[in-house]
């Protein structure tokens, strides 16, 4: 090439050769294109998903197969035979039907069709003219049970009676039925399910097949939601504790800023904070993985609530505890870590657990900004099934965490109350304990008696 550049005459010769080659190749391409138009060109071969949840085609279960082809130039089509892959079976009421289209206009195409487990044949009364589109829909065809890529083969007959081989169709991916598919398909045939689903409310909210299908389908979403809070909440604890210390600082300015942090975060909706973080940070050129950003927003939000919980907990510790520690020569930090915090933790466990529950439920808000979590999974299932059942199953998944925790909180509060009773009156142990409610009732009774007098 360097030599060519030195001799300008030689370079122009080469240029003209290159142009010639380009033109020639263009012609070849166009010719090739027109040769493709000869014969039937298959446009599409698809099967409709027969899975209750998901977009897969399950083998062995009836589905609808759609096959489309365009009639080539200078050609007419009288008959088409499509051969099914080996192992195909027919469902009840299996049939096939051809539609002829001129662009978007549907043409009248009288026809006769036959179908068997091996093949289907459509014969047109009048040959289909060139350039028209033939769509053959085959109903209730069960593709082979084994998973794999399946193609339709076959042949067609033109108006002259000449039979030609069809190009092989595009492959249809078939998976073998999962346990869930097997169960839901079995349920489809059960009379009680039919009866159940005949009640609109039950069908829409508690569809048995969708309950079965949703449980595994939402499991990953449940894990992702749980992980959001299981990482976010522990992250919020040290931040919250630090903020609570700042809230109790001797310096007014520090108290002031800590108060702003707490009040702004607690005084605005988490939903808004999520929007600000998710749509605001990209403006600053900061891009964080949405799942991680979700965790961070949850942690920051929860830290403000925890700060107040911790502060209340620390301030509920009697002054005498601080004084006793001080009188023993302990530094404020030693007092905090060895005397105050261990007692605070016990006291704040119920409220902090409530906060955990709130935060767990609030992970659902992240669905609004596209974080893949349980709500998002349920939402897409509802969209694809047009049924509310996935939301109900989702509710079950949330309750799986929140109900036991609520129970634990109640138990813990009972224990704490009992411990407090003991410490104030150690000799009362044998007396039956009055619950708070009972106590309030008895106080009311006494008051009522007094008023009577």
């Amino acid at each position: 090439m360097i030599k060519v550049n030195k001799h300008s005459t030689a370079s122009s010769t080469i240029r003209s050769i290159l142009v010639t080659i380009a033109v020639l190749s263009l012609i070849v391409c166009l010719t090739a294109g027109s040769t493709q138009a000869v014969g039937l060109t298959i446009n599409k071969t698809t099967a409709q998903s027969n899975q209750i949840v998901g977009n897969n085609i399950i083998g062995g279960v009836p589905t609808r197969i759609t096959w489309e082809a365009t009639v080539g130039a200078n050609e007419t089509v009288k008959q088409i035979t499509l051969v099914f892959p080996e192992g195909t079976a027919l469902g009840e009421g299996a049939n096939s039907k051809a539609t002829v289209l001129d662009d978007l206009t549907r043409l009248d195409a009288p026809q006769t069709s036959t179908i068997s487990a091996e093949q289907t044949t459509v014969t047109f009364d009048e040959p289909v003219a060139s350039g028209l589109l033939i769509r053959i829909e085959m109903y209730f065809i069960a593709l082979p049970e084994a998973s794999g890529e399946y193609r339709l083969t076959g042949s067609y007959v033109d108006s002259a009676g000449k039979e030609r081989e069809l190009q092989a169709s595009r492959a249809i991916s078939v998976i073998s039925a999962t346990t869930v598919d097997v169960i839901t398909l079995w349920m489809d045939d059960q009379p009680w399910v039919e009866l159940w689903n005949s009640v609109l409310f039950l069908k829409v909210f508690l569809n048995p097949q969708l309950i079965v299908a949703s449980i595994p389908a939402l499991f990953l979403g449940w894990l992702r939601s749980l992980l959001l809070v299981l990482v976010g909440f522990p992250l919020a604890i040290p931040i919250g504790l630090a903020i609570s210390f700042l809230r109790m600082s001797k310096l007014r300015i520090i108290r002031f800023f800590a108060a702003i942090y707490v009040n702004v975060i607690r005084g605005t909706p988490l939903f808004l904070q999520i929007y600000i973080a998710f749509f605001g940070l990209p403006f600053l050129g900061i891009s964080i993985d949405s799942y991680i950003l979700g965790i961070l927003v949850l942690a920051v939000n929860s830290s403000a609530y925890l700060a107040e919980i911790f502060r209340a907990g620390i301030q509920s510790i009697p002054k005498g505890q601080f004084e006793a520690s001080a009188s023993l020569g302990m530094h404020p930090a030693q007092t905090m870590f060895h005397v105050i915090l261990p007692q605070t933790i016990r006291r704040v466990i119920p409220t902090a657990t409530s906060e955990f529950i709130l935060l767990y439920k609030d992970t659902s808000l992240l669905a609004a900004v596209g974080v893949m979590e349980q709500m998002m999974f349920a939402k897409s299932m509802v969209a694809s099934t047009g049924n509310m059942t996935p939301y109900i199953v989702s509710a079950g998944y949330y309750l799986l965490i929140t109900l036991p925790l609520t129970k634990i909180i109640a138990e813990f509060e009972k224990k704490l109350a009992a411990a407090d009773d003991n410490s104030s009156a150690p000799d009362d142990k044998k007396k039956p304990k009055m619950s708070l409610l009972e106590r309030m009732k008895s106080i009311q009774k006494i008051k009522a008696l007094r008023n009577k007098k």
Partner: protein, 254 residues
């Protein structure tokens, strides 16, 4: 002011010296110029109606309350000097509170061991040994592993005393140590305090227990409205009070 009676202990320098102590809570003057000296080994009881400033005075000695003006000396250290390391000083001044203030999350033993380990940097074994020894002294060896909530008030207070004593203090302050106790539990605590006094501990005791003061105290101090009204040996003070206010008060509590 009868400062004569304290002369019997002046053969050495007083261990606690309070000079012209004033304390305000806001605009309320709780201590209006208090002077008090306590010699080594002396047991001083402070009495007075509530609001007289006796507890505040006691709490000023280990700086749980910061005096507004005046000085508190411990040996030759001025503890009201801001440069003094107050935590260091508090190791040598034990305090027992009316409300016990045991750490509820720790066992009796754990209560005693905490400051030993964290402040005096004793090892776990050493601290445990000291704790058990101290518990034995207050008669609670069998309660070492009990939580405060499992102990009676009297037992809790004895643990609190053991906790303070474990730090090997030079002065013990008692702030109405028996006031929160049921009468039948007071005795055990007072017995411990008597033993302590016999052992030569310097004690400043805010109490209403006349019997205890008579038996144990070297000196009784009567305070009212933020000043020391009268002080002297307990017999003289109780049987022959010089001031109207003292007589009034004693007339009320006997």
């Amino acid at each position: 002011m009868t400062s004569m009676s304290s002369l019997q202990h002046t053969n050495e320098q007083p261990v606690v010296r309070i000079i012209d102590l004033h304390k305000y809570f806001g605009s309320l003057e709780v201590l209006k110029g208090v002077d008090l000296e306590v010699s080594r080994g002396e047991v001083v009881t402070i009495m007075g109606p509530s609001g007289s400033g006796k507890s505040t005075l006691l709490r000023c000695i280990n700086l749980l309350e910061k005096p507004t003006s005046g000085q508190v000396w411990f040996d030759d250290i001025c503890i009201t000097d801001p440069k003094t390391n107050i935590n260091k000083l508090r190791e040598h001044v034990g305090m027992v509170f009316q409300s016990f203030n045991l750490f509820p999350h720790l066992s009796a033993k754990g209560n005693i061991m905490l400051a030993l380990k964290k402040v005096l940097k004793r090892s776990q074994e050493e601290a445990e040994q000291i704790a058990l020894d101290q518990l034995a002294k207050v008669g609670l060896s069998d309660r070492a592993d009990y939580r405060p909530s499992q102990l009676s008030g009297g037992q809790q207070q004895r643990v609190a005393i053991a906790r303070a004593l474990a730090m090997d203090p030079q002065v013990m302050l008692f702030d109405e140590a028996t006031s929160a106790l049921d009468p039948e539990l007071v005795r055990g605590v007072l017995d411990v305090m008597r033993e302590l006094a016999k052992g030569g501990m310097t004690m400043i005791v805010v109490t209403h227990e006349m019997g205890f003061a008579r038996d144990v105290a070297d000196r009784a101090v009567f305070m009212d409205e933020g000043v020391i009204v009268e002080q002297g040996c307990p017999e003289a003070l109780f049987d022959n009070p010089q001031h109207e206010r003292t007589r009034d008060f004693l007339g009320h509590i006997i």
